[in-house]
Symmetry: C2
Subunit: 281 residues, 2 copies
Amino acid sequence: MIGVYDSGYGGLSVLKHLQEALPERDFVYLGDSGRAPYGGRDVHTILDFAEQCVERLFEEGCRVIVVACHTVSCVALRHLQQRYCPVDGDRRILGVTIPGAEAAIATGAQHIAVVATARTVASGTWTTELHKLARVRVTERAAPLLAGIVEEGWEDTDLARSAVERYVADLHDADTIVLGCTHYPLLERAFARALGDGVAVLDPGPVVAERLAAWLQRHPDFDAPGAGSLRVLCSGDPAAFARHGARFLGAPLPLVEPITEVAGRLAHRHPDDAPRGQVVR
Amino acid sequence: MIGVYDSGYGGLSVLKHLQEALPERDFVYLGDSGRAPYGGRDVHTILDFAEQCVERLFEEGCRVIVVACHTVSCVALRHLQQRYCPVDGDRRILGVTIPGAEAAIATGAQHIAVVATARTVASGTWTTELHKLARVRVTERAAPLLAGIVEEGWEDTDLARSAVERYVADLHDADTIVLGCTHYPLLERAFARALGDGVAVLDPGPVVAERLAAWLQRHPDFDAPGAGSLRVLCSGDPAAFARHGARFLGAPLPLVEPITEVAGRLAHRHPDDAPRGQVVR
């Protein structure tokens, strides 16, 4: 089984491409929606959450995990790999930043803009990875409202178009804009409209899927035939997750299994048990 | 000194009224902007943060703390009072929900709508407090995008008006709308415009200030003459805090003193020391 970890349901926009590229593999998706968005959080909080989530996916039987969340991939991927994936071990954790950076460079762009969460931009990881590959101009732009707009289901509204226009107003001289958050593919039309024909809009999702397929071919020990199954776990409200998630996956979700944050840790408590009113402990 | 605690700079819209009502008292404001918004977080995470913040204000010498944040006031106030304020002790923690509920009932409204964060609405505390006072119809509405829109400084844009209209579209039969988040007073015009003349828009800030002044008169042991001074601490970027905060306070802020979240706790680290790139620990 291949694990896919995201801070919420945004990563289902990546899973969609993974399933298309690898239709006979089995996937387990973990969306930490109860603690999303990660984009404004402290790095050590993100490392804590990421440890809990990948540990859970390993417990579910995954040996390969794709970190679909750009914030986690930019901040915590190296930590996760060093902690859980010794060179001769039987576990691997892959990210989205390097495939995305390579795809952006492959467009031949001289000026690449990356639109992402505040934490992703604060990490500077996109600039670091792009500059390893080529001498290009890089502009990173934090767009903290966009994920929330997509979470409300408002991606096809004037409000969404107005917000995108505000964030990219001074990026018209970029050659390529990278959608550096898994929520943004649902805003691809708003980006294309705000930027016009002169700027390519790049969703890293498809290239992440291509790279995973190629990686599994090169590492047959980590590959296993499957039945095209999908399990979905989430730490927030499973009903809302199923409803919203279908927009990202482009298909109905299977039964969403709830896991919950209790006192800062992931736990099995059902969200209906969440306390109401004043909480005293 | 009187402490004022908020999840970010929104509570400065409450502090403005406190300073007007009590111009000669000294205030210490703590805005946990590095971990804001609280509105989507787990209750136990909010209790952890609230404990850290009020402990810090007690350390700064405050004996009376106003919890300006509606999310904390709705979820954690009783816990904070039981933990830190024994009946015969010399510390008091006051909230904003009960003063706000009393002011809403005083308008004579039969149908009161409260617009607030997702966590505030999930707590049901507004409904509980309003129903203790009168048999009125209460509608609670979560508006998770509005605080972020105000944080971007976009409160006077079509985008803000459009978002407010979406959240209140079915609330036109309310008599009074309570602005149940300290960010929303900056959207007061957008609410008034979206709702028309038939609906009163209530900002609890002024009544919270009146109640604090009256409470200090009744509890002179907790009162102390001051020099009208203000200290401001924040856990996020102090430059951004000063820039945004002035819009909420209606006046320039004094030097903002940084405190930072390190591994889930408040600490004194300067935000410029925040790690960049991949973080391995």
